[in-house]
């Protein structure tokens, strides 16, 4: 039974092995001409300013949590919308319940001031 998984193991070994080899080859044979501009941290092509580890408002954390919540909602809604015609009324009600629960969470977050930015 476990033998069926052998091709996957081979694939994993080959893929990681190849990645290592390619990086190592570039490291060994590639030309290296460092200069101050190249040594700068990459920041989307912009001139970097300030150190990389700045203090971030803890408020971002709350926003991130809320973002994940509605991100997951989309993950569920997209496939649901595709098959809605086949699952009919039951599917509609179930999605209404799902969105209703998330909506309750949003109202709670809103009313308790999680969305305020002072």
């Amino acid at each position: 039974m476990l033998a069926e998984y052998l091709p996957i193991v081979v694939l994993i070994v080959l893929a990681t092995g190849l990645a290592f080899i390619v990086v190592a080859l570039g490291h060994l044979f590639g030309p290296r001409k460092p200069n101050p501009v190249k040594a700068e941290p990459y920041e989307s092509g912009m001139r970097p300013y300030g150190p990389g580890r700045r203090r971030v408002s803890v408020h971002f954390y709350l926003i991130a949590v809320l973002f994940i919540l509605f991100d997951i909602e989309i993950v569920f809604i997209l496939p649901w919308a595709v098959v809605l015609r086949e699952i009919k009324m039951v599917g509609l009600i179930e999605m209404a319940v799902f969105i209703g629960v998330l909506l309750a969470g949003l109202i709670y977050a809103w009313k308790t001031g999680a969305l305020e930015w002072e």
């Binding site: 039974m1 476990l2 039951v90 709670y108």
Partner: protein
Amino acid sequence: MDWQDFLSVLPFIIVAGWATILLLVDLWIPANRKGITAGLAVLGLIAAIAAVISRFGIEREAFDGMIIVDGFSSFLQLLFLGVGVIAIAQAYDYLRRRDIERGEYYILLLYSLSGMLLMASAGDLIVVFLAVELLSIPLYVLAAFAIPKADSEESALKYFLLGAFASGFLVYGIALVFGSTGTTALSGMVAAIESAETTPILLLVGSGMILVGLGFKVAAVPFHMWTPDVYQGAPTSVTSFMAVGAKAGGFAALLRIFISALPGAAVMWMPLTMWIAALTMAWGNIAAISQTNIKRMLAYSSIAHAGYIFMALPAAATPEVAPEAVRAALFYLVTYAITNLGAWGVVLAMEKAEGSGLEIEDYSGLGKKRPALALAMALFMLSLTGIPPTVGFMGKFYLFQVVIDANLIWLALVGVVTSLISAYYYLRVIVVMYMRDGEPEVRSEALLNSTIFITAFGTFFFGILPGFLLKMINQVSLLDLFR
């Protein structure tokens, strides 16, 4: 899927749905009237109790075997809901006194309860995992409820990290069992193991990991390290609920998975559970002796009691004894719940606003100042030791009898000897209450007093007349659906 399936999970829907509605309602309840939220939460629990009672005696599977409704689940659901009502009554005054009253407390408690209800009727490992998470996550938040007190934060963080770790074990174990048997449905697993179409090594490792994951939840040695710290740091009303509810929830899953779904693999898990039971009883009771803080002492006591209930698992490896072992475990869970809720109630009454008054020494003189409260506490301590005429004695008697029936005489002996050891630290509380002089400062709050009275009455009443409870438990059958 039909409407009857939804009726099968009606208690769960009521509690979870009501919690969500209350979450919104609570936003418009002024901060000094949060008693309304507590009252509404109890109302929801009563509706759920009615829903459980109305379908008592019905046995069926719902959602293609994902949900099982039987005597086992109905009985445990009644226990959970009862615990929920008492936990809310205990919390109400305590939260005001500690100045941490917020409506979310009762809502989180309802969510955690809904996880326990789901756990009791889980018929699939995926549902078990879902229920474990639903049960635990609100408890992590509740443990941190006294924020910004450092104790409470520490307790919550420890509980969260170790709980997440344990969940990892559980879900990996589920994956391995699935790999071995090809199904996550409990009924399907019985068939797969009987037909011998399994990979034994995967089954061994998988069921072992499930045992580790759930062992964390019920605080069995060697997965008990978090218990004293978490129980001590969390607000006492949360500890009370956690010690009773979460433990009963963990055992609901343990009994259901190992006794009803994996009886074919009993050779594998029998020695494991036997040693866990013996070690848990021994270490829980021995470590409790040196505790001076009542919350820590009761935490170790709860570890020891997990060991006693754990004895039902190796006993159930003998097929003839299995039904009786499940009943004995359920009976013990009830005795544990009643007695422990009462004992924590007394601790709640003794705790001062700033969180002191938790040393055992603080109980000196209680016998003179508040005779009724001291009598109740003495009753709870006797029941935890297992001395008649309390319900704790009946629970231990029933459980030891089952263990001896399964021919595990040495395990029963470990149980008896460790009970003797436990008498030392339980009776010390009684000695301190009655034979030392002191001026304890005690609250007298109507709701808290009534919960102490009810649990003390239950401890005494079921100790003398256990017949009513036994009759109810004798109707419980865990195994019928799969055989």
